[in-house]
Symmetry: C2
Amino acid sequence: MTTKPRASMRTAARTATPTEARFERVQPGTVAGSLYRAVKRALLQAIEHGSCTPGSALPSEADLARAFGVSIGTVRHAVDELVAEHIVVRQHGRGTFVAVHNADRFLFQFFHVERCDGLQEVPKVELLHFDRARAGETQAAALGLKAGEPIFEIENRLLLQGQAVIHDRLALPASLYKGLTERRFRERPSTIYHLYQTVFAITVTRAHERARAVGADRTATRILGVQAGSPVMEVHRTALTFGDKPVEFRLSTINTARHDYVHLLSRPV
Amino acid sequence: MTTKPRASMRTAARTATPTEARFERVQPGTVAGSLYRAVKRALLQAIEHGSCTPGSALPSEADLARAFGVSIGTVRHAVDELVAEHIVVRQHGRGTFVAVHNADRFLFQFFHVERCDGLQEVPKVELLHFDRARAGETQAAALGLKAGEPIFEIENRLLLQGQAVIHDRLALPASLYKGLTERRFRERPSTIYHLYQTVFAITVTRAHERARAVGADRTATRILGVQAGSPVMEVHRTALTFGDKPVEFRLSTINTARHDYVHLLSRPV
DNA sequence: AAGTGGTCTAGACCACCAT
DNA sequence: TGGTGGTCTAGACCACTTA
């Protein structure tokens, strides 16, 4: 396919390389025929399979180019796409790092409720319930399981400005979160997605949500303090990891009396 | 955008005249210091000021590089960003075209209501009311006007699968849409944003929405056929053109009994 | 066959960060 | 000062569309 003879190039000594990943020369794959896509795939594999852990630096672009046997421009093209997908983060003068799920990222990418006047705030999360259960129809469908397969079921109440605004019911496939306990969940140091990422090597990369307006049921009145039957928003979120594999289903009930669900159509570049 | 946006694009490109824009050599500007940003600004100016009209082809990348006195790689970097912002569309082997607001783009970028089972459909729009009015507080704030400034107020009912699902109330600054008449609005050949673009040279580039759940009022019951007080979604949308200038405010009431408001968090690349 | 965008190379120099 | 990403060049060849 390529005219250039790719002479065997020994991978450079990686004594200074901060990750453990070993990269080999790439050829344009058959699936997505371009070289930069092959490089991207290789980097994704390394991140997905734990050779490059969240927060660690990738090898420098020059090193990657040498290791893969491609030019720097090709490496940059691949990394550009990973940056656009929030998989890695570039820092001028420092390096390129595997993105970490911290509070900022959660607020920016995965949390869309704010006060009517536009005030944004990281929600305070109260754990209400933690249990093992079996997937119902909806949960199973969203998670790609069969009904009855084991899941963790977790209930949270989210507070904004000290007020209960959101009731979340999470469903996690038990097979993906082996060893998860209530204590471990409760004592996580950061966001829930940070817990998934650091303890279970599950990185949430994308999600999709479907929202509708419903009347508040008993549960909503009890947990959010709204009147029975009063209008609240109900959001079904499925969170995905690499390869669009579902790793969390979340049913949220939002009291939109003093808060809005915000949606930006086409972000600026 | 699961279907092919090709056909419409193709027609548009064939009928439109090639661009008349004349480009001069660029220097790295003082605002955003890089050369490719200067190229991007120049292209945006040309599009915004009508030298490159919607549907027409940009000069080829080689020509742009010559005209601007930069290398092709620099031109591509600039165009890459315009593509990411949906300002232009590349077509391999044909050229790069100023994006047209057609039904496909509307569905893909600006319409987020679909049937619970995931069925997407271009809504049928019924005009209910068309009038000149004066901006209220909310409308003025969203549009960057003073309360009382003249606007067009337009009411639509949107049908999906033959059922009334959405009630839209649009507010347009009268100063931006001089000569707009009910007839012109009613007899538009395509989407509303296509009308803005072709007749008033207003291209909607982005929008932001704020959604909440409310009880259906008299108007909602009359127009959507829902029970008084039943939960419906209310969405405030502000549509923006270049430079984030607001050009439309839209208040939507959505009957979410059989339809969902959909939100994709982080699109794939 | 001619023209377009898509990929890729093999460098260069600059801006930024840490030491 | 050395290493990183950010920008830019001046080409080459490939894939695709149209005439």
